[in-house]
């Protein structure tokens, strides 16, 4: 393992990779600071820039964008109470209150420190767990992979926010979009309407740029601009007492975040909510929660960063993304001709370990960049959005064109931008759609192979112990919320009755 890690650092520390890692972190932070835009948008919009790079360089830069835009999203959560993504929503609770009390800098600093500590802890866990997990996953055949994908879809539907039925519907829409194009098994053209562009399917990256970048910009125009709170350099001084208060929250958030992040299809959002809730219960300062408690920023920020790293466990070892951003990163792997999965660690050691080593370097750059410069990045919020969003749209469309050098990509971005806007307005969750879209081809391939192994029957799933366990977990994921909520309701009713 040490040898692998050394190989990784050797790869990641080349001047070229180091430079693009820095650019990725920097540009990611800038994108993340733009209101409402988060890491998924950052990676999707900037992915076209990496098309001409070596695969390892491209992925290192994209991972840098991932981290950078996550932290950039924290800046907007704290200063204008507008999270870049769902996992930063809970940060707004105390982060924004701290900002209103003139402690924006302390909130941003503890978020950066917490994220850094969480990243280091979770990266060590990633290094420890991913290779043996990949080794174990070598036993997975099509039936097991099919079961894991069902688990991934079940997880993301369970965590899809307010309504699981809507989550299921969106996952199905993603699967249907993935059906467009020539079926690889039979060569049948499906839903192509005689268009040559549709033969290879609806392009994934363009769909992501549309849904996340254009859709979000249109949504921001609808919402209107919020007034940013000024964060000054003087306020950045975080006190020793702040750090002492936050250290437990950071550690708890880190381990909790990692635990949730390894689940395929879920992670950061639930982890951040859980970390906040637990901190609220165990903290000595629980009365300050919601009014500007620094633990209320440290815990969710640590948790969502740890979960973001843990997301790479299923992504790298199974080829199943942990969340929306890792789904886009998975798309980047595929664009570069690399199929993540159990064999990746054996077949592409330089790439995998170079990428993992770059996570360490990226997080160091992020901390070094953001601790002193967060107020500078925050100045972006002072640029009128009326100048900013036309430029985001310009970059998005030109970037989309550059992926396949045709206007079809540009129209796909526009159409899915409008779809993304409608989804935002109607509060339809995007993550299940993205996962359905990514998993669609893999799911169908595993289904076809499983039915072939079983001579036309899927009953073979029940002959494979790993598949049975995984399918059981999937069933539990779907059933658990109903069972738990009934239990909770019963407990509350009993408590009310006993007080009377």
């Amino acid at each position: 393992m040490i040898d692998n890690l050394l190989l990784g650092f050797e790869t990641a520390l080349t001047p070229e990779n180091l430079f693009w890692c820095f650019i990725g972190v920097f540009m990611g932070t800038v994108i993340g600071v733009l209101p409402g835009l988060g890491s998924t948008t950052g990676v999707a919009v900037l992915l076209p820039l990496t098309m001409s790079f070596e695969p390892v360089t491209a992925l290192i830069m994209l991972a840098g964008i991932y981290y950078g835009s996550q932290y950039g999203g924290t800046i907007t959560s704290v200063l204008i109470s507008t999270p870049g993504e769902a996992s930063s929503v809970v940060t707004t609770l105390d982060g924004y209150q701290m900002a209103r009390q003139g402690r924006a800098g302390a909130a941003l600093s503890i978020a950066a420190i917490g994220s850094f500590v969480a990243a280091i802890i979770s990266l060590f866990l990633l290094i420890l767990l991913a290779p043996p997990f990949a080794h174990f996953a070598l036993r997975f055949g099509p039936p097991e992979m099919l079961a894991v994908m069902v688990l991934g879809l079940a997880t993301i539907i369970s965590f899809a926010g307010d309504n699981r039925v809507i989550g299921l519907l969106m996952a199905l829409v993603g699967l249907l979009i993935a059906c467009v194009g020539v079926d690889t098994g039979s060569g049948t053209s499906r839903f192509t309407f005689d268009s040559i562009y549709l033969l290879s399917g609806i392009p994934f990256v363009e769909v992501m740029i549309g849904l996340f970048a254009v859709g979000e910009v249109l949504n921001q125009i609808h919402i209107g601009a919020a007034k940013p709170i000024k964060a000054g350099f003087k306020e950045l001084m975080i006190t020793k007492a702040d750090i002492m208060r936050s250290r437990g929250a950071i550690l708890r958030g880190s381990f909790l975040g990692f635990g949730f992040g390894v689940l395929p299809g879920a992670g950061s959002t639930l982890a951040s909510f859980m970390a906040y809730g637990i901190e609220k219960n165990v903290s000595k300062n629980k009365h300050e929660f919601g009014k500007g408690a620094i633990e209320g920023v440290a815990a969710p920020e640590s948790a969502n960063n740890a979960a973001a790293n843990a997301n790479f466990v299923p992504t790298l070892t199974l080829g199943i993304p942990g969340g929306a951003t890792t789904a886009v990163l998975l798309g980047a792997f595929l664009v570069n001709g690399i199929q993540p999965g159990p064999l990746l660690f054996d077949e592409q050691p330089t790439l995998v370990w170079g990428l993992i080593a770059s996570f360490f370097i990226g997080n160091v750059i992020l901390l070094a960049l953001n601790l002193p410069l967060a107020p500078v990045f925050a100045q972006i919020l002072r640029v009128p959005y009326g100048y900013m969003y036309p430029l985001i749209l310009l970059t998005s469309f030109v970037g989309a064109f550059s992926i396949q050098n045709n206007m079809f990509s540009v129209w796909v971005v526009l159409i899915f931008g409008l779809v993304g806007y409608v989804m935002k307005r109607l509060d339809l969750p995007m993550a299940p759609l993205v996962l359905g879209l990514v998993l669609g081809p893999l799911f169908e391939k595993a289904l076809v192979q499983t039915s072939a192994i079983g001579d036309g029957s899927l009953g073979i799933l029940l002959d494979r112990p790993i598949a049975i366990v995984v399918l059981g977990l999937a069933l539990l994921q779907v059933a658990a919320p109903t069972v738990f909520s009934r239990l909770l309701r019963g407990r509350r009713a009993a408590a009310v009755a006993s007080t009377k």
């Binding site: 076209p48 820039l49 001409s52 109470s81 507008t82 999270p83 929503v89 609770l93 369970s158 307010d162 309504n163 699981r164 039925v165 989550g167 519907l169 199905l172 249907l176 059906c179 039979s186 499906r190 839903f191 979000e216 949504n219 921001q220 125009i221 609808h222 919402i223 209107g224 007034k227 639930l270 909510f273 809730g277 637990i278 609220k280 009128p384 009326g386 100048y387 036309p390 430029l391 310009l394 469309f397 030109v398 970037g399 064109f401 550059s402 206007m407 129209w411 409608v422 109607l426 509060d427 169908e444 076809v448 039915s451 001579d455 036309g456 029957s457 658990a480 109903t482 909520s485 909770l488």
Partner: protein, 195 residues
């Protein structure tokens, strides 16, 4: 912030669910009649997944459509996130969430009402479509540059000089990155702009 009137949301939702019902139904029927559901030996064929997925979309959206139209749709059920939250005793935060909406009486920092912002959104969308149709004439960078300028000056009513300078600088940077650095053959249109 105030919220969008519920009847307005219901109408929008009904349209969305109706659209999805139609799409799902179309996918189901096409897959059922045009593609093989099963191959030789009862193995999964090219039509099975789209038929099942399309059928489920039509079914779920259809039910949601009926429930929305009849006003019986429950707006909330318990997902794992909500259960976890209630276990730890946390309440959902109130934030300026991107999904949150502003009512007609709500103004942003530039003093624009929700209705004005909606008009801006419509103008931007139409301008975007127009720009993409203009690509064959003035090229991709030309069309998107004109779009940026139009949005800054006309839609956002920003001063024209900074708008021109910012647009020109942005187009130059994008040209440098994509056309020069990445050597992307950007469409130049019949006027040969931005190649």
């Amino acid at each position: 912030m105030t919220t969008q009137p519920r009847h307005q949301i219901a109408v929008q939702e009904a349209i969305a669910f109706g659209f999805l019902t139609a799409v799902g139904g179309y996918a189901f029927l096409t897959a059922w009649f045009d593609y093989d559901l099963l191959n030789e030996g009862n193995r999964v064929g090219p039509g099975l997944v789209p038929a099942v997925v399309g059928g489920l979309i039509a079914l779920i959206s259809g039910v949601l459509l009926v429930l929305t139209v009849t006003g019986r749709r429950a707006r909330h059920d318990h997902g794992l996130a909500e259960v976890a939250q209630s276990v730890v005793g946390d309440q959902p935060p109130e934030t300026a969430d991107p999904g949150a909406d502003a009512g007609d009486d709500d103004v942003d920092i530039f003093g624009r009402t929700a209705a004005q912002r909606m008009r801006q959104l419509q103008m931007v969308t139409v301008a975007l479509v127009a720009a993409l149709f203009l690509v064959s004439l003035v090229g991709l960078l030309g069309a998107l540059g004109l779009f940026s300028l139009f949005v800054s000056v006309v839609v956002e009513r920003r001063p024209w000089l900074p708008s021109v300078l910012i647009t020109a600088a942005s187009v130059l940077v994008v040209y440098g990155v994509f056309a020069v650095f990445l050597e992307v053959p950007l469409p130049t249109g019949s006027l040969g702009i931005g190649g």
